[in-house]
């Protein structure tokens, strides 16, 4: 058993070294495609964070003063619910202090200056308003103006078309980047496939002898399959490193933006990048396994 394992790994290394140029090409292609995949996920997550305040069809937010009384809050709720042609009462949401504070942590993740100033003592609470289907922009605009003067209301935010722009942009970038990623992943698979085929061709005499003396197909295949798997794995690790470095640069870049830029939430600071690393490495190994597995099965007949 031990001699089989040592044989397999020895042959894998020897083959990797022999085929260095092709191996490097395969790894680079794999890592570029995986990096693009990771960045796509990262950008999508950035959009999600930026839009998280507005998820679920929310188009208007009424911020209540931190010291608004129970009564004032109830009155605003009732006022919102009494406009059934504009406000979808069933989707009306009130975020209390804790929920608003938690959301702010996400929203201002890229803006530590603002984040520092926010405490549960000065946080506004908020009503998230989902308009009905028939509510027009003008009606919502009127509503937002009307609510500004109510007692206990801190401010009303109605960004209108900005949300649509961001949502469209998110879809536009996402779909196209994923498409390019898919093309690159296919070429990575083909390159790994070709590398393995070349490696097997270079060793066809050995493979012929192995088959004649009774080596099993798996024994012959395994070093080649591991070689491809390793190429995918290395590609995944390189892509992960580049992705994390990218994310760190972007995050520290966003922190230097002025607070009013509106991009404060366009960062990913939670554990999400580690999830991306997991997926990139997994996908890399999958790419390697597909490329080398098909080649090793196909070219075993000598």
């Amino acid at each position: 058993m031990l001699s089989r394992i040592s044989y397999t790994f020895r042959e894998m290394w020897a083959s990797l070294r022999r085929n260095l140029t092709l191996t490097v090409a395969a790894i680079v292609t794999a890592s570029v495609s995986l990096l693009l995949f990771g960045l796509t996920l990262l950008i999508q997550r950035g959009f999600d964070n930026q839009l998280s305040q507005w998820s679920g069809g929310v188009e208007l937010i009424v911020y209540m003063k931190n010291d608004a009384s129970e009564l004032q809050i109830r009155e605003v709720r009732e006022a919102l619910e009494s406009t059934p042609n504009v406000v979808d009462a069933s989707k009306l949401q009130y975020l209390d202090l804790d929920a608003s504070f938690a959301e702010a942590q996400r929203l201002f993740a890229g803006d530590p200056g603002t984040l520092q100033l926010l405490t549960p003592e000065n946080m506004p609470t908020q009503f998230k308003v989902v308009p009905t289907d028939e509510a027009s922009t003008e009606l919502l605009d009127q509503l937002s103006v009307g609510f500004r003067g109510l007692p206990g209301v801190h401010s009303v935010v109605f960004p209108g078309k900005e949300i649509d722009v961001l949502t469209t942009l998110r879809g536009f970038i996402g779909v196209r980047l994923l498409l390019i990623t898919a093309f690159l992943l296919v070429s990575a698979i083909l390159l790994i496939w070709n590398t393995i085929r070349t490696a097997m061709f270079a060793r066809r005499r050995e493979i012929e002898v192995m088959k004649l003396v009774g080596a099993t197909n798996w024994f012959i295949r395994l070093p080649f399959m591991l070689e491809g798997l390793l190429q995918g794995l290395i590609g995944g690790v390189l892509a992960s490193g580049a992705m994390l470095w990218f994310n760190q640069n972007w995050t520290s870049g966003v922190k230097t933006f002025p607070s009013e830029s509106g991009f404060g939430a366009f960062v990913v600071t939670d554990g999400f990048p580690l999830w991306i690393v997991f997926w990139i490495v997994l996908l890399g190994m999958l790419v390697g396994a597909i490329g080398s597995g098909t080649a090793a099965s196909r070219f075993l007949d000598v």
């Binding site: 001699s3 005499r205 002898v209 088959k211 004649l212 009774g214 099993t216 197909n217 024994f219």
Partner: protein, 225 residues
């Protein structure tokens, strides 16, 4: 040990390599397959280690119908069959020792077995002291001895030899034949395809003669004709 029953093999509609061939080879027998090029000698050998499958008929090796054997079992069949070729099929980047050890290594034999068996078989074929040479540093006869050592190191039941003396001068060829004869005397069945008339006449073993895929003669203690 080997039994063929009405075996027919063709490579295309026009080319019939073997037609309705039947014969038995007993354990420890030595058989020459003779006939001109393209008469079906190599095809017969390839049928015996399942490199080919016949269209019709059955091939039995060591009591098993090898045509019905699942692909996954074929490697285990081949561990009982040694193969020797006209062009030796040695690996040029490996030493004599490594070439022979390779055959044991790839079927998962442990290192201590390899260290013990390889020198023993190299001694048997008369190559003791040349373990560290590379194939290109050896004469043709010595290379064929390495190839025989590789085929025999796992002590197979059967040796299949395809023109093993085809590239060698007569004296060297005779040396190889003496070695094969010695291996045969240890109880290994040997089937050898050849058109080396002199050797067949010298050895006086069983001769199966083929002509365009048909067995035209099967004679014990035969000659080439």
């Amino acid at each position: 040990m080997i039994k063929l029953e009405n075996v027919t093999k063709s490579y295309s509609a026009e080319v019939t390599a073997l037609q309705d061939a039947s014969f038995d080879v007993a354990k420890a027998e030595f058989v020459f397959l003779v006939g001109p090029s393209g008469s079906g000698k190599s095809t017969l050998l390839r049928l015996m280690n399942r490199q080919e499958k016949p269209e019709k008929g059955e091939v039995w090796v060591a009591g098993r119908n090898i045509n019905e054997m699942p692909d996954a079992k074929v490697p285990h069949l081949r561990r009982n069959i040694g193969n020797i070729f006209q062009d030796y099929k040695l690996l040029s980047n490996k030493t004599v020792f490594e070439n022979v050890a390779f055959a044991l290594e790839v079927i998962g034999r442990p290192k201590h077995v390899i260290r013990q068996q390889v020198p023993a078989v190299l001694d048997l074929v008369g190559l003791a002291g040349k373990q560290e040479r590379f194939p290109h540093q050896l004469s043709g006869g010595e290379q064929q001895r390495v190839s025989i050592a590789r085929a025999f190191v796992n002590r197979p039941l059967i040796l299949l030899a395809d023109e093993p003396t085809g590239n060698l001068d007569p004296a060297t060829g005779e040396g190889i034949m003496r070695l094969l004869d010695r291996i045969n005397k240890t109880g290994t069945t040997v089937v050898m395809a050849t058109h080396d008339q002199r050797i067949v006449n010298m050895m006086r073993k069983r001769v199966i003669q083929l002509d365009r895929g048909i067995i035209v003669r099967d004679q014990t203690r035969g000659v080439y004709e």
